[in-house]
Symmetry: C3
Subunit: 158 residues, 3 copies
């Protein structure tokens, strides 16, 4: 992939990832990741301090699948849906089959009988792997949320 | 158009479409469609139930033009403007000259002497036609709004 | 750059520009511009009337640098951060090394201990220069904000 194709491929990955969540196809969500992936959601403040833990933390695809199962059983995710709006990646750096990318997003929350409302803004800090000719998988995604006051509402993955 | 060019061409169509509306060049709006187009605005809930009718419904380019004329005469659209923010298409599938695409959006509403406010989020569910070498026209656009509580405010096309 | 590369290059410029501001790397901000650049922030209403002055007005890279120094000294910018969400450019026209582009955006404001909130929506009206093989610099940027009621809060560049 050349200078134009790679950022574009990243933007297509982000768009497909967001749509899977927003369509409530949560079972497809872990497949965007590599088997030994790392996924966490944290706040800008904690991220800037170098704190790793985050609000949500998964370090394998298995844990992502468990998370989806938990959501399906608890059923709390049905109370609301998300709408992701993902911008173009602001930074994409490739080194062999490894790609670092930063991508801003806004997520809106839709609750029955209410208008859409802004839920959270932030940035995906990603390490991706090019697998096969054209496919990108997420090896590491740190979802850095600009604010940290939404924590208790967090159920569906970002 | 190849794997990269087609989603990119779709994103350029969406951007030009949104800008025409946001610039109040509503007379240019029907020209984004084929002559025998279908356009409707509906809610996520109705769309998920397979209901076709929608809040707004046009099944030819002529009806789109009539809608614009109506807005110009009623003059109510001048009370507010929109700002569309359209993300990259999350799904693009081509079959000959026919293209299916799904594209998320947020629309903000601008009313005189007030700050911009979120109006609606949703997704364009499109069937496009490749006409000529490089041009995409909308044969069918179903605007699926995430929420349905904004209906009465709907005047300008989304 | 061909029909696809140029709008894409513009979108990458916009993404990098926004990220520099949102990461508080304000010292990098003037480097997105040519030496003899023009930068202003204005409202849709004033822009439509052809008024040039704007709320903020800089007509050289030196003035942009002075603005950053002023912000660093005043330190008021630390009270909040921005999150830009920049859409694909809706219009890109090239004439030799000169490029005109229009790009919609939304900016969210993040204040400590508060959720992100919509700050302003608008459009970049740009004149860019292709410098070197692949690099775009901003020769003229008029930031046209959809609303004008946020003026007094404006400190960080948009």
């Amino acid at each position: 992939m050349n200078n134009y194709q790679l950022p574009f491929a990243v933007s297509q990955l982000q768009a497909a990832y967001a749509q899977a969540i927003d369509d409530d196809r949560l079972e497809a969500w872990p497949d965007f990741f590599t088997d030994d992936c790392f996924y966490s959601i944290t706040s800008h403040e904690n991220h800037a301090r170098g704190l790793e833990a985050g609000i949500i933390y998964c370090d394998s695809k298995g844990m992502l699948k468990d998370r989806v199962s938990g959501l399906r059983e608890a059923n709390i995710y049905e109370r609301h849906r998300y709408r992701h709006l993902v911008a173009m990646p602001s930074m994409v750096q490739a080194d062999g089959d490894r790609v670092k990318a930063t991508t801003p997003f806004a997520v809106y929350r839709i609750t029955r009988n209410k208008p859409s409302e802004l839920f959270v803004t932030g940035c995906y800090h990603d390490e991706l792997r090019i697998s096969g000719e054209d496919t990108l998988k997420i090896a590491r995604r740190v979802v850095v949320c600009d604010s940290s006051v939404f924590d208790t509402l967090l159920a569906i993955p970002l």
